[in-house]
C-alpha cells in the first residue's frame, strides 16, 4: 500500500499533473469535441471503405499470427518442447514480439517497405504472434496428461499425439484467444494510418490536421460503430465456443 502511494507521488513529478489544468483542459476539450458535431458524412463511403480495409488488416494480421503461433507455441511449452534451448529461444522471441507495440513496429515496417496496409498487417502479425505464443503455450502446459498418455499407449506417433491428444484439449482456448486478439487488432489497426501503415487512421489525421472537425466526427463514429459490431459478433462466437 505504501509502495503504491510512493509510486503515485513519484509519478506526479515531471508529468505536469495538476487539477487546475485538468479543469481548464476539460472545458477546452469540450469545446473541441463540440466542433465535431454535426458529423459530416459527405465522404462517408470513403470512410466506410477505409474501415473495411482496417478490418481486413486485422483479419490478416491475426491470421498470419495464428499460423505462426500454433507450431511455435508447442516449442514454447515445457511439456512439448523438443529441447530446452528451443524452449528458451521461442519464449524470448515471444517476449520481444510482445514487447514491441504494433504502432512502433508499423513505423519500422513503413520505413522498410513503404506506405500502405501491408506494413500495417506485418506489424499486427508480429506483435500478435508474440501474444498468441504466450497464451497458447500456457494452454498447452495445462493439458491433462492422462489423455496424452492414452493416445501414446495406442501406438500413435508424435505428430498424432499432438493432433489427437493436445489439440482437442486446447482448441477452445486457442480459438477464443485468437478472436479476442482479433478484436484488439481491429482497434489497433485504426491508429496505424497515423504512421502511413494503412487503414482509417490516415483519414483521422488528415481531417484533424486540416481543421475539418466535422469530418473527423464522422470518421470517429464509423470507427466506433465498426468496433462495437466486431466486438459484439466476436463475443457471440466466443460464447458458443465455451
Amino acid at each position: 500500500m505504501a509502495a503504491v502511494v510512493v509510486v503515485l507521488v513519484w509519478s506526479t513529478f515531471g508529468t505536469e499533473l495538476s487539477p487546475w489544468r485538468l479543469l481548464t483542459g476539460l472545458a477546452a476539450s469540450g469545446r473541441f469535441i463540440a466542433e465535431f458535431f454535426p458529423p459530416d458524412f459527405t465522404r462517408g463511403s470513403e470512410y466506410l471503405n477505409s474501415m473495411f480495409e482496417t478490418i481486413k488488416m486485422a483479419v490478416w494480421g491475426t491470421a498470419l499470427a495464428f499460423i505462426a503461433a500454433v507450431p511455435l507455441s508447442f516449442w514454447a511449452a515445457t511439456n512439448t518442447t523438443p529441447h530446452s534451448l528451443v524452449y528458451q529461444f521461442t519464449r524470448r522471441m515471444s517476449d520481444v514480439f510482445r514487447g514491441l507495440n504494433e504502432f512502433v513496429l508499423a513505423m519500422v515496417f513503413v520505413a522498410a517497405l513503404g506506405l500502405g496496409p501491408f506494413p500495417g498487417i506485418l506489424a499486427l502479425a508480429v506483435s500478435t504472434t508474440g501474444t498468441l505464443i504466450k497464451l497458447f503455450s500456457e494452454a498447452i502446459e495445462l493439458v491433462d496428461v492422462g489423455q496424452v498418455e492414452a493416445v501414446k499407449a495406442s501406438g500413435a506417433g508424435p505428430l498424432q499425439v499432438l493432433t489427437h491428444a493436445y489439440w482437442p484439449q486446447i482448441v477452445p482456448t486457442v480459438l477464443s484467444m485468437t478472436l479476442y486478439r482479433f478484436e484488439a487488432n481491429v482497434r489497433g489497426a485504426t491508429v496505424l494510418g497515423l504512421v502511413g501503415a494503412g487503414g482509417i487512421g490516415l483519414y483521422v489525421t488528415e481531417a484533424i490536421r486540416g481543421f475539418n472537425f466535422q469530418a473527423a466526427g464522422a470518421i470517429l463514429m464509423v470507427i466506433l460503430v465498426a468496433v462495437f459490431l466486431v466486438d459484439f459478433l466476436s463475443a457471440k462466437v466466443r460464447e458458443r465456443l465455451s
Binding site: D144, G146, Q147, E149, A150, V151, K152, A153, S154, G155, A156, G157, L159, Q160, T163, H164, A165, P168, Q169, V171, P172
Partner: protein, 267 residues
C-alpha cells in the same frame, strides 16, 4: 515358461527423483491368460505396466514384446511393438472433447499415416470396426456423444473399445474399476473377461479387491515395494500371503519414524 509373449527380465526401475519403483523383476506373460496384479499402492504395479508397453524405459534389465527387445530399441520400433498392446486406465483417459466413436478410432491411429490421421480420414473398415466394438461394449447408442457427457462406467467401456480397436494381443488394465460403482465395476470386469475368453486376448489387470481377483483371474502376481512377492494360480493365493501383502510388521516400522518427527514438531 517357454515362449511368453511378454518377457520381463531382471528389470529394475528408479525414477529421476530417486524412488525405486521396481527391483529385479523377472516375469513372463502368455497369450490367453487373465493375470491379476495386486499389491499395496506404490508397490510398482503401474510402473510395471508402463514398462511392459514401453511408455517407461526401465533403468536396468530387458523387456520383450514378442521378438522385439523394446527396452533398448529406438522409439519408432517401440511404438510399432506397442500397437499390439491396448491399455485401459483408472481415470479412463478418454479425450474428453471428442465423441465416443472418435475416441475408439484413436485405437486405429497406429495404422494410419500422420497426414490421413490429422485430417481424420479414417477408412470405412476402421469406422465399421469402431462401431462394432462400441456395440460390443453396449455403447453403440452413445457413439456420437462427447466423451465428457458419459458416466464413469460408460467412459470405461468406451476406453475398452478403444483398446480393442488396436486389435491387440494383450490388454493392460491399470485399476480399471477403482473409480467405478459396484455395478459398473462388474460390467467392466465381465467385458474384460469375455475379451480374454472369447478373443484369446491376454489381460493383465491391476486390482485392489481380492474378491474380484478370485472371481476373474487365472493367475496372480503380487508386488510389494517393487519386488515380486508372489506369482502363482489364484488357488494358491492363501489368506496368509494376501494378508502379509497389505499388513505386516514392515508397515509399523515405517510409521514409527513419521510419528517420531511429528512428536518432535510438537515439542
Amino acid at each position: 515358461m517357454g515362449e511368453s509373449f511378454i518377457r520381463v527380465e531382471q528389470v529394475s526401475h528408479r525414477y529421476a527423483n530417486g524412488t525405486v519403483a521396481l527391483s529385479s523383476i523377472t516375469l513372463g506373460f502368455n497369450i490367453n491368460q487373465f493375470t491379476a496384479m495386486i499389491g499395496p499402492s506404490g508397490a510398482g504395479k503401474s510402473t510395471l505396466m508402463r514398462v511392459i508397453n514401453g511408455l517407461v524405459r526401465p533403468s536396468e534389465g530387458q523387456v520383450f514384446i514378442g521378438d522385439t527387445r523394446i527396452s533398448q530399441a529406438p522409439e519408432a520400433t517401440v511404438r510399432q511393438a506397442r500397437r499390439q498392446i491396448g491399455m485401459v486406465f483408472q481415470q479412463f483417459n478418454l479425450v474428453r472433447r471428442l465423441t465416443a466413436l472418435e475416441n475408439v478410432l484413436i485405437g486405429r491411429l497406429g495404422t494410419l499415416n500422420p497426414v490421413a490421421s490429422t485430417l481424420k480420414l479414417y477408412g470405412r473398415e476402421d469406422r465399421e470396426l469402431a462401431m462394432g466394438l462400441l456395440e460390443r461394449v453396449g455403447m453403440a447408442d452413445y457413439a456420437w456423444q462427447r466423451a465428457d457427457t458419459l458416466s464413469g462406467g460408460q467412459q470405461q467401456r468406451v476406453g475398452i473399445a478403444r483398446a480393442l480397436a488396436q486389435q491387440p494381443r494383450l490388454i493392460l488394465a491399470d485399476e480399471p474399476v477403482s473409480a467405478l460403482d459396484p455395478k459398473s465395476s462388474e460390467q467392466v470386469m465381465e467385458i474384460l473377461q469375455s475379451i480374454n475368453a472369447q478373443d484369446g486376448i491376454a489381460v493383465i489387470c491391476n486390482l485392489h479387491h481380492l474378491d474380484t481377483v478370485r472371481e476373474y483371474a487365472d493367475r496372480v502376481v503380487a508386488l510389494k515395494r517393487g519386488q515380486l512377492v508372489f506369482d502363482g494360480s489364484v488357488a494358491d493365493l492363501s489368506e496368509e500371503v494376501s494378508r502379509s501383502l497389505y499388513y505386516d510388521e514392515q508397515q509399523s516400522r515405517e510409521i514409527t519414524p513419521i510419528l517420531a518427527t511429528q512428536l518432535s514438531f510438537a515439542d
